[in-house]
């Protein structure tokens, strides 16, 4: 499957990057939909070089700190485009430990269950607020074909997803209180 491979190719295609840069991007916006730690990224970068998909230039920062700045080779860009254009099956919906626990909620006392739901609700609302703040940075939908268009699409996606989660939690709390 090698999704990380394509995630990295996609990021390097946006602009030449170091392993550290890529690590940071997974902690930012993109982290809403894909993540990897540096311990996974550095070996993958090495592998992509071996496979002839990317190359790097060593740059010295300050006195002696070595940075490896990676950029795409033609073959890398080819494989990225191929992957992007594939019409893949719907991804089997994602795992969610909290919803799994709610499946077994009959074993939790009502007050405890409500507390758990409210704790999640607080956290989700906070997350949602952060996302909406980012959205406020857009005065309009970015131009089609720009990188910002992709940024915008996934940001909107993250917001809709969080809103749905918040809505679910609120309904669930209501159901706990209503249902005898």
């Amino acid at each position: 499957m090698r999704t990380l491979k394509y995630a990295i190719l996609g990021l390097i295609n946006r602009h030449p990057s170091t392993g550290y840069d890529i690590t940071k991007e997974f902690k930012a916006e993109l982290g809403n939909f894909w993540r990897a730690r540096h311990s996974q990224i550095y070996p993958e970068l090495k592998r992509l070089v071996d496979e002839g998909l990317i190359e790097y230039e060593t740059v010295i920062a300050g006195e002696s700190l070595e940075k490896k700045v990676y950029s795409l080779k033609d073959k890398g860009r080819e494989e990225l485009l191929e992957w992007l254009n594939k019409d893949e099956k719907m991804v089997p919906t994602a795992k969610d430990k909290f919803r799994l626990r709610m499946y077994f909620s009959s074993n939790i006392e009502r007050e405890d269950l409500i507390e758990l739901l409210e704790s999640q609700l607080r956290q989700r609302k906070e997350k949602l607020a952060t996302l909406k703040e980012k959205m406020d940075g857009y005065s309009e939908v970015p131009q089609f074909g720009s990188q910002e268009f992709g940024d915008y699409l996934v940001l909107e996606s993250a917001i809709l997803r969080e809103e749905a989660y918040v809505e679910w939690l609120e309904r669930s709390i209501k159901r706990c209180n209503q249902s005898s």
Copy 2:
């Protein structure tokens, strides 16, 4: 973390089950939020027996087919309850390969991108329809404390999640057509 451990304990707590039963449950409703294959389930069951959390009785079906019917021991139920009542941090939002691809959508031609989005939309709508059919089976919110209450919560959650996905895809298609 051992989430599978608790998922299995939770399922066995609902009613004594075989490995095969558990495998089926992960393919059904619960599969919207957690999944595991039989190749992961059988070894985990063995481990849970070793740990003294569950036990099994061998039952013969038909002439000679051996089934192992697992049930919870006290210690298993204890650990399940402890896990269910923990107030855990929000799960870092889940990976989604399709949204990752949309992050790089500036490299896809407009018509191709719209096709990809519409293909996903068709599949998501189909999924949503299936979920809503199941929801039609409930004439009212099940009683608090019943297993059906948990079923209901996660079904509602799955519906809200799919609706948000559908909404996002529809908006994205619109944006592709609007944005110059």
